[in-house]
Assembly symmetry: C2
Homo-oligomer: 542 residues x 2
């Protein structure tokens, strides 16, 4: 069996027709859901690209691997998806984005050459690279945001697109007469990107994926990682005008949210992004483009799935669709991601397992609390390996896929957010190490702890599914908050760093030191088995 692990970027859990969007039709993704299992409560371990992905690729919480922000290097030596899968006999390839930054200093300290196989894998989050393109070729007065080579820009140039950065100038900009109408300005979101649809980012990456599968030796895992529907919000024809303001759902927001908000929430509402997405004209411009981008993604899924069917790969490939986080799109007076309301922290997660054991669950949904870090152990099992549960903190989803309800399952999901790199930390006067948030969600209650002496947040998802009424300071909810703090405490004490020794090794090692002569608590020779003490008795050497 192979694994096609597809990740979109910034795709909301509820912007698919299978998850209930009333206007956006995503028949191809829906078909995958109909052939597999859709998890309705899937949480990312951090609502920001870099940290969410590092959790996904390591199978570990953000506090465990430590790469808690975009660009924060993943410590050299951390076990990754590639390490675990290769150990199980499965190759692990990257096609697209990881947002991973190599721990260059750590590698130099250990003498790892970046151009060695080991060094290259360490620098690429454990993947072998088919295509690495993070899809953010932004450029400003201090140069490019991403200083690597862009395979996508190279492709566009080879096709004759002019200029130094056709990613921006064509794929992410429309035209205003003879001028660029950049997708960075949301007023331009309704214009078609100035590019042939075939050449835009999502079809391009799909083509590269097909190229890969054409030549791949099984078994393989391919992490197909699209930048879209992530901003800039602009999409080529015909997707640019498939949706209009009439398809924009009302913002899920309430005036109560702005009254004495939690300080961190208040700071995010007050930033430029929150303020922009609180304007209806911004939503009316951006959301139809966002929907168009998703529609294009779905069409590309149709193309990819057709290819898999034609080549017989549908029968021997596990297909996974998820995202690294969502997008507020103006809900809760916010844009982007960052905090823990459902539009941000919840993601789509669909797994289609071709094995006959999964036949009984096809087309079903699972409401259990699922974390993004559960994917890697699921993949290890699919590859026939043993889950290294002294390293991996997620739990395999295989039982759910195979219709077996696990005897125990997690009672709460965790997500974390480190906002130390943001202006909000400065505005709030919070030190870098205190600019951290922790979510504990148990299905009924969603709780957020903020370091730095700030109060918590709490939502009753049963009474208040839209998360408007913050009970973090409600005198009536102390017992709930205490329970959530107990859980956070339990999670904080988890065994996360004992990565050099498995439980099985510990169990096998018990008593070994006695048989190697460490004899404790003996008063006389007769207190022990003569075999154990044989080296300690008899004539003294002379």
């Amino acid at each position: 069996m192979n694994i096609l692990f597809i990740m979109f970027d910034q795709l909301r859990f509820d912007y698919l027709s299978c998850s209930g969007h009333p206007h956006l039709e995503t028949p191809h993704i829906d078909r995958l859901a109909a052939q597999g299992v859709r998890f309705t409560q899937a949480y990312v371990q951090s609502p920001i690209c870099g940290a969410a992905r590092m959790s996904c690729y390591t199978g570990r919480y953000a506090s465990s691997h430590g790469a808690q922000w975009n660009g924060s290097p993943l410590r050299v030596g951390e076990w990754t998806m590639g390490d675990h899968l290769r150990q199980a006999g499965m190759a692990c390839w990257l096609i697209g984005k990881t947002h991973m930054n190599a721990d260059v200093e750590g590698m130099a300290r250990l003498g790892l050459a970046p151009d060695s196989v080991i060094g290259a894998r360490q620098a690429e989050c454990g993947f072998d690279v088919w295509i690495r393109d993070d899809g953010l070729w932004a450029e400003g007065p201090d140069g490019f945001y991403d200083t690597k080579r862009s395979p996508y820009n190279a492709y566009l140039k080879s096709k004759g697109y002019a200029g130094t950065n056709p990613w921006h100038d064509f794929a992410n900009a429309g035209l205003d007469g003879v001028d660029m109408a950049s997708g960075w300005f949301m007023a331009n979101a309704g214009k078609p990107a100035n590019i042939a649809e075939d050449d835009s980012e999502t079809p391009w990456l799909t083509s590269r994926t097909i190229d890969f599968i054409e030549q791949a030796s099984a078994p393989w895992c391919a992490h197909v990682s699209y930048i879209k529907p992530h901003w800039p919000y602009i999409v080529p024809a015909p997707y640019h005008d498939m949706y209009g303001p009439e398809h924009v759902l009302p913002a899920v927001k309430d005036p109560r949210e702005r009254v004495d908000p939690h300080p961190v929430y208040g700071a995010f509402m007050g930033n430029a992004i929150g303020q922009a997405f609180s304007r209806e004209e911004v939503r009316a411009a951006a959301i139809p483009a966002y929907m168009g981008l998703i529609k294009q993604c779905d069409d590309q899924m149709g193309r990819l799935f057709a290819y898999l069917e034609d080549t017989g790969r549908m029968q021997d490939t596990m297909i996974v669709i998820t995202s690294d986080h969502g997008d507020y799109l103006g809900d809760h007076w916010l844009g982007e991601k960052d905090l823990f309301h459902d539009p941000s922290v919840k993601v789509p997660m669909i797994i289609c397992d071709p094995r006959p054991e999964a036949d009984g669950t096809r087309g079903t949904t699972v409401d259990a609390l699922v974390e993004n870090i559960d994917l890697l152990p699921t993949f290890v099992e699919a590859a026939g390996g043993t889950v290294a549960d002294h390293i991996l903190e997620g739990r395999s989803l295989t039982p759910w896929l195979h219709g077996q309800k696990p005897q125990t399952w997690r009672e709460y999901a965790i997500s974390e957010y480190d906002y130390s790199a943001t202006p909000m930390a400065v505005k709030l006067g919070i030190a870098p190490r205190d600019a951290r948030l922790f979510m504990v969600a148990d299905g009924r209650w969603k709780f957020m702890h903020a370091e730095g002496g700030l109060p918590p947040m709490l939502f009753d998802l049963e009474q208040d599914p839209q998360e408007f009424n913050d009970l973090g300071r409600s005198p009536d909810h102390q017992a709930i908050r205490d329970r959530m703090y107990d859980r956070l405490g339990q999670w904080g004490r988890r065994m996360s760093q004992r990565v050099t020794r498995s439980d099985a090794q510990i169990e096998a090692g018990r008593g070994a030191s006695r048989r190697k002569g460490i004899l404790l608590g003996l008063y006389e020779e007769s207190d022990t088995d003569p075999e154990l003490a044989a080296k300690y008795v008899g004539p003294a050497p002379r």
Copy 2:
């Protein structure tokens, strides 16, 4: 300035005359205390050799570095004392014991050759090795406990001591007629070890230390790490009969402790070691030998300090004396270490800083809560370096040494103990990952949390300084336990793995992405500074 970082093994905090032992005179160590600062509340981060040392050598809690048991390999890439000090321009040498096990698998995975400089340092906890000898050359039916080469055994053989393991047969055994009287049997503890005193372990390591200093280029840090007064409890003449049963203090124990004890405590009381040390004949045999070993250590300190004075090194060397944990010696019905009563978890800590800034504190004591992980940041400052506080979890003790009371100091000390490798975990039916204990001590209260659904322990050190009355289940102390759980929760959320990026780097990076073209929340071109958007405006390329 150099640093002479002396660690004894299993030396109780209260077995020195400067800390109040009524019969054991340790004038040389006392003199160091009179010239420096003695910390009266110094806690190790785990009351077992391996984990305590890995915490000391990394400056990090056991849960942070993950090497929580003897022999559990320290993950490749963990920053160690050697890494931090070399970065500050100071060499860092090992003379003696570390109990460190290399992460051989991790090194192989990263392609680190064990015989390269980098590989050798990774395999030796970051030290450059002058002498590595862990001092536990036990041998049983399955071979040697320690499979490395023993420099000490090689020395003894070079001096003509016979047999394959003179460490045991001479240094750790007396004579019973022509037969060995092994120190592993405590009934033999009163006999003199069958070795010239000069050739026994403590003088031998002192000689190696002097050899080192003779040729060392300043600035250096030398970790002089003695195995003694660790068991086997046997010592050469004249130390074997300096103390007798009349010098053995009554065991600090109380019948109440055996009534419905905490399950983990009960299991440890029930093991062979606890049962042996509950017998007065065992204490009467072992403790005088233990005291003799300490007396020999003190005499060797006298020899070493005299050498330093003669060579002028006393003026430019910071001298530190501590231990990796204590020894119950029958207190609380226990032997060895392992749990969190003071005889086990508290250690001596004396620091003599030769700088004039320390002149005002010479001969004083400090009662602040100090952790063993505080030493490394203290050393980094002494070496003139900057403390990497995104990696190091301890706090520099320099202010205390220089008579400056820090504005804030820790309110509680933490220690951890992972007993998953022991028969007690089996006896209690506790899974390996749940066989973990956490201590929180704030000076007034000492609290222990046990994973696996077990109750906590709690002692009121003011009312019950001897720690007899476990209030872990007392209905009257719920508020105290809640407070201790809050602290443990706070500690559990600490930033411990963000080791690839410092606070300063985070602060310096704020806003950088905007100047590299990531422009969020913009509706129109006029919403931003033209400089930031320059690449996004103007004529479209053709």
